[in-house]
């Protein structure tokens, strides 16, 4: 008990400390900018993302009409980039949300029912962790074809096992002793125990896991789209832009450099924020 109290106050003291490292501040700014762009992409884009300008094909960046240049069909790279950010973030957020909710729920079910249910959840999460996700995703895409909802759902299968393991472990220890056991003996229903008490208590650990899953989802989606198996034209995404831009690597490298940089900086920013949050919120997580 004393240990827990000490840790608690130590954590609080560190959270209250106002100084935020420069790298974290930059990362947060970048992510905020990405969110604003995702929300307003169609309003701030100077051109329609499929709008052709055949007289200005493969225009180099830095000209007044097209800041980031144009692609092989004269489409404005900046406008396409903004819309791609929206699509890629939509997929990444949608998928992360699905995997966090589904994984946490499965973890709670395992902790609540134990026995067979728990064994099945553990077996599935072992299986998920031991198979390369890219291969499984490719197999599903081969069998089911492609669409944006399917892609979000498919990416939503990624990483659920991490939430499930964390939620299960923490819920079991909360049930064994402590507040959850206390609330249970007050006569609370399981949904009250799990949603009102255990979930808020483990939320910080789950949020830290989210910052680990999110960049990987972005990389997966962009990888699939790069291979031409993710987001399909005329829709565009960051990986999709890099994939089609690579044909013009020798003549117009800017087509792929802008989205490639965006992917790298975004994953880097989320990782920096994640590392920082992990130190602040959850010193027990490695």
């Amino acid at each position: 008990m004393t240990d827990a109290t000490l840790k608690d106050t130590a954590v609080r003291r560190r959270i209250n400390r106002p100084a935020i490292p420069v790298s974290v501040a930059l990362a947060v700014t970048w992510i905020a900018a990405m969110l604003v762009i995702a929300a307003l992409a169609d309003k701030i884009a100077p051109y329609g993302f499929t709008q052709l300008d055949l007289r200005n094909r493969l225009a180099a960046p830095g000209n007044v009409a097209h800041w980031l240049g144009t692609d092989e069909l004269g489409r404005d790279v900046l406008s396409r980039l903004l819309v791609s950010i929206r699509i890629s973030l939509l997929i990444a957020f949608g998928a992360t949300a699905i995997s966090a909710v589904a994984g946490t729920m499965l973890g709670f079910l395992a902790a609540h029912f134990r026995g067979l249910v728990e064994q099945i959840v553990l077996m599935l999460s072992d299986f998920q962790a031991s198979m390369p996700f890219l291969i499984m995703a490719l197999a599903v895409l081969a069998f089911f074809g492609n669409s944006l909802p399917l892609l979000i759902g498919l990416m939503g299968l990624f990483g659920w096992e991490r939430y499930a393991r964390i939620a299960r472990g923490l819920a079991i220890s909360a049930n064994a002793q402590g507040y959850a056991a206390a609330v249970r003996q007050l006569g609370a229903t399981p949904s009250r125990i799990y949603l009102r008490h255990i979930l808020p208590n483990i939320a910080s650990t789950l949020i830290v896991s989210t910052t680990l899953v999110f960049p990987e989802v972005i990389l997966l989606e962009s990888g699939l789209s790069f291979l031409g198996l993710g987001v399909q034209p005329p829709m565009t995404s960051l990986g999709n832009m890099v994939g089609y831009g690579r044909e013009y690597l020798t003549r117009a490298a800017w087509i792929m450099l802008a989205p490639a940089t965006t992917i790298v900086v975004t994953t880097l920013a989320v990782s920096i924020i994640g590392d920082w949050l992990r130190d602040k919120l959850d010193p027990t997580l490695q």
Partner: protein
């Protein structure tokens, strides 16, 4: 000890069963498997024969059992593109994939592990910081971006190396470098943290306090202990060799299993996809099993625990 291995083998079999089940479920959910495997242009009598051979008119649980039987016998269907057995197509491509992934693996180990050890032993030095920055870059720069950057610099700008194809050893350099650099960064970061953890243990401090030369402390105490977690990561890397090759083979137009998979998915050539899925599962499971066995020998605690089981 025997029980430890028995549990591992049972789990490996379970994973295989789950992968086959996954393939079965996905195949059934996606439509008529006879059309899926043979393609819509297949003659009706071939379809009927296929349905009879695969027992598609039987109850679902019987189909499930038969599906296992067929896979156990190596009957994995035919490619709908050129009608050849899928397994033959896949096996043909394996040497090309190995030609990339094995040198890349050696590259990762030769670069990543010494860099990680050096960084841990010289914590805070310029090299340590360089290793850490490279390691972060290795995670955040996706392999297709790294591949294109290498092409841009070494093929387009400098013109030293070809940007794709498989005509000679010079064509393999960029794909191997792409695969190796990313993996080396991950491995370096992992080795560094495993070493740092071991170096922080009381027995290391005790050994050096007793006057054991530092070099000997490192070689006979720190390295063997840091090896245990590192072996796990290496095993996982062996298992993901094919998965890692998917993107790189596509960028460099390298005719390996990974490229075959991408083409098969794009063409919905399901027999080939299914065959590669099983191949990946088999590699994964085998390498995990080898890691578990090595673990059993490397970790004395596990040995002791197994002894009185």
């Amino acid at each position: 000890m025997g029980r430890y291995f028995a549990i591992r083998i049972a789990r490996a079999l379970l994973t295989i069963i789950l992968v086959v089940t996954f393939a079965f479920v996905v195949l059934r959910l996606s439509g008529d498997p006879s059309l899926m495997i043979l393609g819509p242009e297949a003659p009706p009598e071939v379809l009927a024969a296929f349905r009879k051979a695969w027992g598609l008119d039987d109850p679902i649980w019987m189909q499930y059992v038969d599906y296992f039987g067929a896979i156990a016998k190596g009957e994995l269907g035919r490619s709908m593109r050129d009608g050849r057995p899928a397994i033959q197509l896949v096996l043909e491509r394996i040497p090309a994939t190995l030609a990339l992934t094995l040198p890349a693996f050696a590259f990762k180990v030769a670069l990543g592990i010494p860099a990680g050890i050096y960084a841990a032993l010289n914590r805070g030095s310029a090299i340590d910081r360089a290793v850490m920055i490279t390691a972060v870059a290795g995670f955040t720069v996706p392999s297709f971006v790294l591949a294109l950057l290498l092409v841009l610099v070494f093929a387009v700008q400098l013109g030293w190396l070809p940007s794709g194809g498989q005509e000679g050893w010079r064509h393999a350099i960029l794909p191997i470098a792409t695969l190796g650099l990313g993996g080396a960064a991950v491995l370096a970061r992992f080795t560094r943290s495993a070493m740092l953890e071991v170096l922080g243990q009381p027995y290391i401090r005790t050994a050096s306090a007793k006057g054991v030369p530092w070099r000997k402390v490192v070689t006979s105490h720190a390295l063997p202990n840091a090896a245990i977690p590192t072996v796990t990561v290496l095993g996982f890397m062996v298992g993901t060799l094919i998965a890692g090759a998917v993107v790189v083979e596509s960028v460099f137009a390298w005719p390996g299993v990974g490229r075959l998979l991408v083409v098969a998915v794009a063409n919905r050539d399901l027999a080939v996809v299914q065959c590669i899925l099983l191949l990946v599962a088999l590699t994964m499971v085998t390498s995990n099993l080898i890691v578990d066995f090595l673990y059993g020998f490397l970790d004395p605690r596990l040995r002791a625990k197994g002894a009185h089981a």
